[in-house]
Amino acid sequence: MSLQASAAVQQANRWDGGVCPFGAGWRTVMLWWFIISDGLLFAGFLAAYGYARLSVSNWPDASQVFSLPFLTAMTVVLLASGATMTLAVEAARREEWSTCSTFILVTGLIGLAFLGLQAWEWRHLIADGARMNTNPWGAVAFGAYFFVITGFHGLHVFTGTVVLATAARRVWARRATAVGVEMVGLYWHFVEMVWVFIFTLFYLL
């Protein structure tokens, strides 16, 4: 956008000022740094979890605690929402706004479905006796880290659905730009990516 406009004044070197290095406007740069910073929050939790896990010898065996088919379903659901999000972004790029709006909405609904599955999982574990400070399977820290890490991820999914709902409305009203939708997409894919980390590091390993 701004780049085409400024083509006339563009110097050979994008770092020279007046145009953006990295060919991205401040919104994109800012969002990427936000994603890095927010990602490091999860890094903090996951590193702490890895630390706690290394320091005890009785960490529960995940396959005995969780139902892997159920987890797989959660993963499939979230990955599917990633696909519809990408479709929304591409529709926005082709300026097919109603398609775009629909895909955003679908993404949000799948996100809600994920949250539903997560709530189900929590209920199940709580019924089995998992609490913040105790659990029937082994190291006490297991329950605490489980609730904190999946809770924070769930919170991000929830924020994401709110953002998606707002975006769907704006797109529907033709008050959005392709870049705006792309940024919503970036955030949603980031949340998806965090799940990949959690899925592997917490549930599988």
Binding site: M1, S2, A5, S6, V9, Q11, N13, W15, D16, G17, G18, V19, C20, P21, F22, A24, G25, W26, R27, V29, M30, W33, F34, I36, S37, D38, G39, L40, L41, A43, G44, F45, A47, A48, Y51, A52, S55, V56, M132, N133, A139, V140, A141, A144, V148, F152
Partner: protein
């Protein structure tokens, strides 16, 4: 200006257009989007917090300097903290904790990083405002909530947090460990969460602004060192703070939901066996210092950057080794992410990582030293104008050298075993995080005051203020190094109970007296600041004959900083000592046809 054809960078419509109309008082001075107003709001808030922090420092020094005096007056002001005129140990701990927290996070971070950062970065890169002005305002108000929360923690049941500014568990995690851990610690943690949110928003803005909002011709290698330092400091903040957010969440859970992230098994507090099991206090230390060490560089880099920009204006020659200094800043920034373990040498950490952290810490002193030497060399052969900002810049150098020397001893794990948790550490970090930053703050305030408020500060009062600040400051913290070598432990409420420390009585009295001088000396600054606001000499646009962009606009600058026309930068920020039609310098907007470009 919304109508101009400035298409290059402007993607923040809306806010600018609204501001073209004369905004009301509230929009102009309270909920303002203007980076200059927000910067000044941060500075004023930070200075007010500094008053609180300094009052607490006085209480600390009264207690340590005259441990067996009775203070009936203080009993009336702090009925719970002073029982019949004698300070309680619990109150002492709360005071020390809050002093550290307020000074680090609510004075230095506010004034130096967010305050000057907001004010200077857009001006010095030739931008109209921050990339995202609304976010900027939001960050200030979230920050204010956090400051108010922190202050309010004095009034909750049990009093303010008392586990130190580092909030080590178990002290901070177990409510029965110390009164401040009942409610004060919770408020402390929540306040820190708000602070981190605010600081993150502000950091995002600075990074994006430096990236994308530079005026035409303002390449990275033409940015003043101040801008470089804010850029790197903001990136450090974005990378380091999230770990503390995670840790704070876990600590709150430990306190309120019975988890044991940080509380080990078998702990006995106040005769009670705790039910917690399986946590590790070391984990908190790691996560805290993963933030904590970069945070001290977040504070010191802008201080050094400011000094580097003040010095050439008063030596009339370019800074020495500009590019090398930038690379040093980058190296220091990168290395500062991986040295945090030097705060934990005696924590029982793995000796292998301990050795690594020791080596890494000594490595970081290399770029730091090169940077310091560059600053020194910037003085060499200059025709020095010893005005107030320059004096403070020299003080930055003096304290940076002395504090860094202490750091060398501490960074060596073997020496640190002896020195850790003594006044040697207190002396070291006050020289650095206290002194370098304080001197740069004052230097910066005297230097940019004319730009901010359109009037000069009084030189005579300023000079007196300088000597009343620098001298006692140096005395206090230099002497503390020796107290530390003698073995005086930090955070102790009184040294009267130990034979080997009784002889430090006189030193402590001298230190406390110097502290009283230091704090009273700040009255001069307060008077000067307020008096000059109304009665100061009117400032020219460029009273110091400096080269950076903020001096090319009016004092104070208009809302859009540089007027409607897009500006172009033609040279680096240190064009001093070249003949030109205004004297011996050329500002960054002077084209090369008029004055030759030297770099």
């Amino acid at each position: 200006m919304a109508q101009t054809t400035e298409q290059t960078t402007d993607m923040r419509h809306g806010s600018d257009a609204e501001h073209a109309h004369e905004p009301g008082f509230i929009r102009k001075y309270v909920f303002s989007f203007d980076h200059k107003v927000i910067g000044i709001q941060y500075i004023i808030t930070g200075l007010l917090m500094a008053l609180v922090g300094a009052t607490l420092a006085m209480l600390i020094r009264l207690q340590l300097g005259w441990p067996d005096r009775v203070w009936p007056l203080l009993s009336q002001i702090f009925p719970k903290g002073y029982v019949s005129g004698v300070m309680t140990p619990e109150f002492y701990l709360a005071v020390v904790t809050m002093h550290g927290t307020i000074m680090v996070f609510f004075f230095m971070s506010y004034v130096l990083v967010s305050g000057f950062g907001n004010y200077l970065v857009p001006l010095q890169i030739g931008a109209r405002d921050m990339a995202f002005p609304f976010l900027n305002m939001l960050s200030f108000w979230v920050g204010s909530i956090s400051a108010l929360l922190m202050i309010s923690s004095f009034f909750v049941e049990g009093g303010a947090a008392a586990a130190g500014w580092t909030a080590y568990p178990p002290l901070s995690a177990v409510a029965s460990a110390v009164p401040g851990s009942r409610n004060g610690q919770t408020v402390w943690l929540v306040s820190m969460a708000f602070f981190i949110a605010s600081f993150t928003l502000s950091g995002l803005n600075i990074v994006a602004t430096v990236f994308s909002e530079r005026a035409r011709g303002m390449s990275m290698w033409r940015m003043p060192l101040t801008v470089w330092s804010y850029f790197i400091a903001s990136i450090l903040g974005l990378l380091a703070f999230p770990a503390l957010t995670a840790a704070a969440v876990m600590l709150i859970l430990d306190r309120h939901t019975g988890t044991s992230f940080f509380i080990p098994i078998g702990l006995v507090v106040a005769g009670q066996h705790l039910s917690h099991t399986g946590g590790s206090p070391l984990l908190w230390q790691h996560l805290f210092w993963f933030l904590g060490h970069p945070e001290v560089y977040v504070l010191i880099l802008p201080a050094l950057g400011i000094a580097c920009d003040v010095i050439p204006a008063f030596t009339r020659k370019p800074v020495f080794g500009y590019k090398l200094s930038v690379w040093c800043l980058i190296a220091v920034g990168a290395l500062s992410m991986v040295v945090w373990g030097h705060h934990m040498f005696v924590s029982g950490m793995s000796p292998f990582t301990g050795e690594y952290f020791s080596v890494a810490t000594l490595t970081i002193t290399l770029p730091m030293t090169v940077f310091g030497v560059n600053m020194l060399a910037s003085l060499w052969g200059g025709s020095i104008r010893l005005r107030v900002p320059m004096m403070f810049a020299c003080a930055v150098l003096a304290l940076f050298g002395s504090g860094g020397l202490g750091g060398l001893y501490l960074g060596n794990a073997t020496a640190d075993m002896q020195l850790t948790d003594t006044y040697f550490v207190v002396g070291h970090f006050h020289m650095m995080i206290g002194g370098v930053t304080l001197m740069a703050t004052f230097g910066g305030l005297y230097y940019w005051y004319p730009k901010m408020f359109g009037r000069m500060m009084n030189e005579k009062l300023g000079t007196a203020h300088f000597w009343l600040t620098f001298t006692p400051f140096f005395v206090i913290f230099f002497m503390q190094h020796f107290l530390g070598i003698q073995g005086a432990p930090r955070r102790y409420y009184a040294f009267t109970a130990y034979d080997f420390l009784r002889e430090t009585r006189l030193q402590n009295t001298i230190i406390s007296s110097a502290a009283m001088v230091l704090i009273s000396g700040q009255l001069l600054f307060l008077i000067n600041f307020i008096w000059s606001l109304f009665k100061g000499r009117k400032a020219a646009d460029n009273p110091w004959e400096a080269t950076t962009l903020e001096w090319t606009t009016s004092s104070p600058p208009p809302h859009d900083n540089f007027g409607p026309h897009p500006l172009t930068v033609h040279r680096w920020a240190y064009e001093y000592g070249v003949p030109s039609d205004v004297g011996d310098y050329a500002d960054q907007r002077v084209p090369k046809e008029r004055v030759a470009v030297t770099a």
